[in-house]
């Protein structure tokens, strides 16, 4: 019997271990703060956050698949829905909505109304240009790469920059077919 696809991540979220939201927010804040001190350039910090997110994503996908009971997605549309409704709920406790599909279904926007990473945060003038939540885009990119989808994830709207929501644009570049890492005759 095929596992039942959960409609949302609520059930999973209720069962996973959680930490205090403020502890989480302030820990992430401390990381960003330290990166800003160490790397000095805002651009470099964005890059580093993305890389950290990627490293998280390639590991997190396993945990996600193990605990969430989602079955194989038939297309990218379903993938996006699962990320928004199950993935975000499971790991961040909020769910996103998926909109702005382009004609051929290759790119869409994930919109977050609420984002626990940014509680208390206000961007000072010295940090303009910083994508504070850039770790999220890295996580999605890393996680999708592990399930053979090359994607490009960019921020479109950011509340810290005065927009009304958080919007991540996820673009599917190509689907890599699964390959064995070794040849038969080796």
């Amino acid at each position: 019997m095929a596992p039942i696809v959960p409609r949302s991540g609520d059930a999973v979220f209720a069962n996973v271990e959680r930490v205090n939201a403020e502890l989480f927010t302030l820990t992430y804040g401390a990381i960003v703060r330290q990166l800003l001190t160490d790397l000095e350039e805002v651009e470099e910090v964005n890059k580093q956050l993305d890389q950290m997110g990627y490293n998280i994503g390639i590991r997190l996908i396993d945990e996600f698949l193990a605990k969430s009971n989602v079955s194989r997605c038939v297309d990218f549309k379903e993938t996006a829905e699962v990320i928004a409704k199950v993935g975000f709920k499971m790991f961040l406790g909020v769910s996103a909505s998926v909109t702005n599909w382009d004609a051929d279904g290759m790119s869409c926007s994930l919109i977050l109304e609420d984002n626990p990473l940014v509680d208390f945060v206000e961007l000072p003038d010295t940090c303009q240009g910083l994508y504070y939540c850039n770790v999220l885009s890295g996580v999605i990119r890393g996680a999708l790469e592990m399930v053979s989808m090359k994607t490009e994830v960019t921020w479109v709207r950011d509340m810290l920059r005065g927009d009304d929501a958080y919007e991540l644009k996820v673009k599917l570049l190509k689907q890599v077919s699964e390959e064995y890492p070794y040849k038969d005759d080796e």
Partner: protein
């Protein structure tokens, strides 16, 4: 609303990190300097007084002519100081408590370095609104 009121926040290292003239009287350049001077002079008294009581709100610690200095010392020894000519003690206390709350929010911002100048315009607007409401 009080005709004269000057509000400053002094960090625990004795550096002013926020200043605002919140009185309704017309702004005068030399008055602002005088206000700073009076508040600065009051710091010594605050230092002595702060350890004699467990209360955070120190009422009228110092006066200069008709101007009175009230101070609120946070747990981290940041001092919120208000120079005023009104005698609305309850209002001042509420003002301090609400500004304290705002200050804690500023401190929780990971991108704010404790002890540095508060540049947030949001904070500034909120403080001025509170001053209009309570003083």
């Amino acid at each position: 609303m009080a005709s004269t009121a000057c509000f400053i926040i002094v960090s625990k290292n004795d550096i002013p990190i926020y200043e605002a003239e919140v009185g309704s009287a017309a702004k005068k350049e030399d008055a602002a300097h005088q206000h700073q001077f009076i508040l600065h002079a009051a710091l010594d008294i605050v230092q002595d007084l702060a350890w004699t009581t467990s209360a955070m709100f120190l009422k009228a610690v110092d006066r200069f002519n008709d101007l009175v200095v009230s101070v609120y010392v946070t747990a981290g020894h940041t001092r919120l100081m208000l120079l005023h000519d009104s005698h609305n003690e309850d209002g001042i206390k509420s003002f301090f408590q609400e500004v304290h709350e705002l200050y804690v929010k500023i401190l929780l911002n990971p991108l704010y370095l404790p002890g540095s100048r508060i540049t947030s315009s949001h904070f500034d607007t909120k403080v001025r609104a509170l001053a209009r409401k309570y003083l």
